[in-house]
Symmetry: C2
Amino acid sequence: MKPDALRGHLDALLLATLDGAALHGYAIIEALQQRSGGALDLPTGTVYPALRRLERGGLVASEWATVGGRQRRTYRLTSAGRKALAGERTAWREFTTAIDGVLGGGPWPTPA
Amino acid sequence: MKPDALRGHLDALLLATLDGAALHGYAIIEALQQRSGGALDLPTGTVYPALRRLERGGLVASEWATVGGRQRRTYRLTSAGRKALAGERTAWREFTTAIDGVLGGGPWPTPA
DNA sequence: TCTCCATATGTAGCCGAACTACATGTAGGT
DNA sequence: ACCTACATGTAGTTCGGCTACATATGGAGA
């Protein structure tokens, strides 16, 4: 997977991962690996800043917890985040429809 | 459509547009509008440099032509470009499969 | 014990592709 | 004369994801 492919779609991935369950950053990375069938292996330097950005935007909220002596910052969707996720899903559908329309299934016939 | 969404997928779009027909830049932009159902309206500042980049990479080749007093640089796929297009189509399928796997159809059930 | 790995979070700085804005010129319609 | 469509192109900005690094705990194994 070329690195730039995710540009503009990362927010949707993070929001979707938090849909239905609050997770901490490291667990989000693992969840993305699993749900993508191993295709997505995001570095921490990508995920953690993105989560802070989403928090600044009010789409997620976080709380600290200590589990087994380890510090965890657990993120959950806010109501604004849920709305944003719905928008992201729609945008994703429109985006893939547009690209699929161009990529089609092969060469286009020369118009008669 | 948020601007960054195209990141990393533009090459595939351009190559696919040239698959089966040689076109000049302006016509490529119009073809992308049509085939995407109006969703893609790429500025010339995006398309022309991208075509030059593809030409530098040997994926397309161009020839000048004069049509109705207007200069046109017509691009066509090279054999390397055809191979690259096949790769791009595969990458696109893998990419959408990965993202769809994460976005799913809604909230994920808590594992029992 | 010491080392290594998995777990867990985070920052600084770079890279580069797509965008904005601009510049240039022809043809045709009003 | 003016505007729009056609047609190509460059300069510079933007900014999000990446690389690389820094930090710290717990557990397994040599």
